[in-house]
Chain length 471, copies 2
């Protein structure tokens, strides 16, 4: 009896829309479209993602701050490209109580224009640099495209780091550090990724250049974060300067690093299967669920052993839940598989007699009998192995979906990630986008030299440009 | 040389306004009045307060959720008293991008009207009850009174728990649990408090009754939280019902529990002195600061010993910082006293020779020589003692400022907290408020029977009513 039948994973859109609610991650019935409620199980996972981010920020000397949600229109308008890029997407507060406001306020879509007026007060001297701060907050974007939980929403749970440096080179060093942080995080979140330097026509509003952090989910690219080099594009309009050792004043160079609840969307979409979620062990609210297999007349005995096993495992550092509901074991299996719990332990009378338990792992759906006295190290290894396996198998899959295309202007079946020789001209890039109904992701993080010619104009190719359908 | 001279604590308003910025808690120069920036040191303390709250919520089986920031006007208007109470204080979003919205949205001033439409979907049967959730979010109130950091701001860091129950009695049990949670928290935050049942003319908009959580700060009462019994006042307009064991449908009974960044304001204002902040040990970002006392030619030696002492203390579970800046020790003392670090260790050559350190405690400003090999248990005891001392001495002070007043209509000098016999009539209460320029806080949490007569109307007194000037 499966009350909560899921659509098959192959019907990805239906599957995704269903699993996010059935697994208790979110409730989309809130009376504003695209603004969803974080329900307890989903919010726990998101807070664990936040906590991994905080650890990396602390390790690299970023200080956590918290800026106001609202920004005055006058500050927002200072950087010309920025307002052009975001102006159409913002929510405007025009009234307070019964009064019309003198200056309209907007709900931050991102916090450059909130933070940089303060940076110009905080930064005085070279000894104030580098300044490295971050915050975890809600941002707001008036999305007109179709919304999708965690992927395209109108209130976004957002991470943003902002840094200021004495020169371009020091800002570049920051971007190297950001890429290290990224790699540490993605291994724990089990998300494979490629970093692309976005083409000029798709960089962040106000950036000198933008790096997109891209992953592949159900045949389309999902941008799960970005890193921007601003150079002095913002420090000039916001007048952020410092005095160097010789008493001379210079504008700072700035970077930002942003990621959002899309990280969670990627985890759901990349690893999930016909049975439901598969959660990376670092994020799972319960890493282990224990299901007693009761036998008539021995229920209390079995429950007692399950509870003391749970205590043992908790003392070993695991997050454990014992499911004592009055349901058949099969229904409990189904319930926790749907919710992506990495490891299940089944324990009945026969196991008690043999001093064993049955261990099930969610990523491979394998079951194995394990001796009680070997259980803790066994599970510790298994959780590491699940993390490694989830990451590696998704990474392999992403690689397998990338292909070099000789002539994109004539191709029939476009691969999920298309690599194309490119002369470097915007016009040629845009023609390929239009012909193949994809978006240019940009060039590789590390410059690739291409031989041969651009398939559009026939001029010598300088590098490769990547294309994909995107979310 | 004290660059950052503070006004004396007796000039409370000046002192408070200065210390919050000088200690690095907030920056009030953000270009929207009453919306301040949480700077790193202050935000760290606030996150520690949040974390104590989360622990209590987990212990008592409340689930954490996160609701959208915006509420449609149509939902907000459903409970008549509530909109009357909050309508004048809200920020309205009227436009998104270039479009005017069909339904205006407001920034939540509190989340009843965001949550209860969902409660009516979530609650079906008696087995869904009690429902106990909470969130830690920003709320928004268009304050027209003068703003003050952490005390009266327009974006408020807010905790709110919302519960639903099968009947009034179960909701009352919840309120008992809330009061236990309160007591656990206040001991760690070192905030003395009294709970008052607010008079009917001052209860929360929509509540059946309201309990105010009051503390005394510089001669005035600061409400640092509140607990509300809603009965079925919200469940009727929001249609929140459940089916009982006999198939009959009933409206749920509801409670809420709210606290805010005012907790932080109270800690600053109650414990601070002429030297600056005094932080409770549970909240201090650094519990111990080590200041090396260098001697010419032995600097590296002293620094090395300080660093290894810090490692030892960190391994002992303390949060420790070694101040290696090139400043005179006296300036470092001043710096960390201002920031409220509970314990300072001073360590120089003589201490190294004698295997001792000098330990300074911030709450009493006492110094003592302690043997190195007794240091860890010594400091563990000292931190507990600081917590206890801060709480107890503030509690004694609050008691000492309360006085029974026989005839408030003729009194010249009103005590900080005035206790008055009361017949129970609103009119008499309002007359005393007006005559003494105070607000009625309400009656005691546990009913007190009064003898004698009401000093306004002369009728027999039923109980005592408390009055004070408030923030």
């Amino acid at each position: 009896m499966r009350l909560d039948e899921l659509p098959p994973r192959d019907d990805f859109n239906d599957w995704y829309n269903e699993i996010v609610e059935k697994a208790g991650l979110t409730d989309k019935r809130y009376p504003i479209k695209g603004m969803n409620v974080w329900t307890p199980y989903g919010w726990k996972v998101m807070l664990s993602i936040d906590s991994l981010i905080r650890n990396e920020m602390e390790r690299t000397g970023h200080d956590e701050v918290n800026f106001p949600t609202l920004i005055p229109e006058s500050e927002f308008s200072k950087e010309a490209e920025h307002i052009k890029g975001f102006g159409k997407d913002v929510y405007w507060v025009t009234h307070a109580g019964e009064n019309e406001l003198d200056v309209r306020l907007l709900l931050r879509p991102t916090s450059e224009t909130a933070m940089y007026p303060m940076f110009s007060l905080w930064i005085r001297s070279h000894s104030d640099l580098p300044l490295k701060i971050f915050q975890l907050v809600s941002t707001f974007r008036y999305e007109t495209k179709q919304t999708r939980a965690f992927i395209r929403v109108r209130e976004i749970h957002f991470f943003e780091a902002h840094t200021a440096h004495r020169d371009y080179e020091d800002a570049e060093r920051q971007i190297k550090e950001d890429l290290e942080i990224l790699d540490n995080l993605m291994r724990k979140l089990c998300i494979p990724y490629e970093v692309h330097k976005r083409p000029d026509w798709d960089k962040f509003a106000g950036a000198y250049y933008s790096l997109g952090i891209d992953t592949l989910m159900a045949g389309r690219i999902l941008q799960i974060g970005s890193i921007h080099q601003y150079r002095d594009n913002f420090s000039k309009p916001y007048d952020i300067t410092y005095e160097d050792e010789n008493g001379e004043h210079h504008h700072v160079h700035q970077t930002t690093y942003g990621m959002s609840e899309r990280l969670f969307g990627a985890i759901i979409g990349i690893h999930g299967d016909d049975h439901g979620l598969i959660l990376p062990p670092e994020l799972a609210p319960y890493q282990i669920v224990i299901v007693p297999i009761p036998k008539k007349g021995h229920q209390d005995e079995v429950y007692g052993v399950c509870n003391s096993l749970a205590d043992e495992l908790k003392a070993g550092g695991f997050r454990v839940h014992v499911d004592l509901r009055e349901l058949r074991p099969g229904n409990k299996y189904y319930h926790w598989e749907l919710r992506g719990v990495p490891v299940r332990i089944e324990l009945g009378m026969r196991d008690m007699e043999n001093a064993t338990v049955m261990v099930f792992r969610r990523d491979t759906m394998d079951k194995e009998v394990v001796k009680r006295d070997e259980l803790i190290p066994y599970i510790r290894n298994m959780l590491s192995d699940i993390e490694r396996n989830l990451y590696e198998r998704a990474k392999e899959k992403m690689k397998g979906h990338t292909a070099l295309v000789e002539n994109p202007m004539e191709i029939e079946e476009v691969p999920d990630i298309m690599k194309v020789r490119w002369c470097g001209d915007e016009e040629c890039g845009l023609k390929i986008e239009e012909r193949t109904d994809t978006s240019a992701l940009g060039t590789a993080e590390h410059e690739e030299e291409a031989e041969g010619t651009c398939p559009v104009c026939g001029k010598p190719a300088k590098t490769y440009l990547y294309f994909a359908k995107t979310y």
